[in-house]
């Protein structure tokens, strides 16, 4: 199973698109810059949302306003991050697959997604408007906010560490 998956990644890495990104001088840096700048929009705005849930920022803005006006930008940022991130993976899938920090990042991403889904379907529902004038957020919203902040911090740190091959098998240490 693992071997056939690795073969799939080897096949992807040999496709003209992947080879093209690797051989181009500018494509990879440009995609990485988009990924880094996209972080400002996606995570910067997601943190505004989390901090609002925790009542630590933008307190005068009703929660429902933040959801209506800020969350669409989080979604735009998310699309930018997924596209640019996929292209970065596409460039060298075999190395990414073998990198421990990439694997940890994928796990943390899944957990962050799960946290967001739980919040969306079970916690917020239609009661968001009820929090607008409330000085304290419900406990479940606070938990979701803290978990989200922690997971996204992990995702950024793991993402940065992918560049380092400290634990990569069969790769000479720099």
């Amino acid at each position: 199973m693992a071997e056939s998956f690795l073969n799939l990644l080897r096949w992807i890495q040999a496709t003209p698109g992947s080879t093209g990104i690797r051989e181009s001088t500018w494509t990879y840096p440009v995609i990485e810059s988009v990924h880094v700048l996209g972080l400002c929009l996606f995570l910067g705005f997601a943190l505004i949302w989390d901090m609002r849930l925790l009542n630590k920022a933008f307190r005068r803005v009703p929660v429902s306003d933040i959801q209506a006006r800020v969350m669409p930008w989080v979604n735009v940022g998310f699309i930018i991050m997924v596209i640019s991130g996929s292209l970065l993976f596409y460039e060298e899938p075999v190395r990414f697959y073998g990198n421990i920090f990439f694997r940890l990042k994928v796990v943390a991403l899944l957990l962050a997604g799960l946290n967001a889904l739980i919040f969306h379907f079970f916690t917020s529902g239609k009661r968001l408007v009820e929090w607008d004038s409330s000085p304290i957020s419900p406990r479940s919203a606070k938990v979701a906010g803290y978990v989200s902040i922690f997971l996204w911090m992990c995702i950024v740190v793991f993402g940065r560490f992918i560049a380092y091959n400290w634990f990569d098998p069969l790769v000479p240490q720099q």
Binding site: C40, G44, L47, I48, F58, R160
Partner: protein, 170 residues
């Protein structure tokens, strides 16, 4: 591009300064460690998300693309502590990264030096012109001024970010 680095423009005036920073105790400790540079880079990136968010929320508000029910100066006031706090973290972590390889890497790195130029312009613009505009009443900000300030702000800070990413590819 190498022709425009400080190492080629008055090298003898600049080198002792870069050399001195690289040989400070903290610069040496970070350089000799396997993980410290990477860990500080991670902090730098985390602070980037916060500074990016706190700059963009006000710029997008100036464009009229978010939080239109709140006045510009209210959004600006709410964002300010996050902007100032994250800028401090960026400068501190950035300085530590710089100190570890000041003379051997950053002295000859064009992307880094262009980044510093963008950073200087971005900071000056943010705390003078932009600050003066975003603390006015909405009725006193003309739509053109609002858009211009937002665009210049995004361009300057993007320049900082893109050149920062460029350091690694130089």
């Amino acid at each position: 591009m190498n022709a425009f680095t400080l190492s080629n423009i008055f090298p003898h005036a600049w080198l002792p300064f870069f050399d001195w920073i690289e040989h400070t105790r903290h610069g040496t400790v970070i350089r000799d460690s396997i993980w410290q540079f990477a860990a500080i880079e991670a902090v730098h990136l985390l602070a980037l998300a916060v500074i990016g968010g706190s700059v963009l929320i006000v710029d997008l508000r100036l464009m009229g693309w978010t939080l239109r029910r709140q006045p510009v100066n209210q959004v600006a006031r709410d964002a300010e502590p996050w902007l100032v706090g994250s800028l401090f973290m960026m400068l501190l972590s950035g300085y530590l990264l710089f100190s570890s390889l000041a003379a051997s890497k950053y002295f000859v790195n064009f992307a880094f030096q262009l980044k510093m130029l963008f950073l200087l312009l971005a900071i000056i613009f943010t705390f003078t012109i932009r600050r003066a505009v975003i603390y006015k009443e909405d009725s006193q900000i003309s739509p053109i001024t609002a858009r211009l300030v937002a665009i210049v702000s995004v361009l300057l800070w993007s320049g900082v970010g893109i050149m920062g990413r460029g350091i690694g590819f130089y």
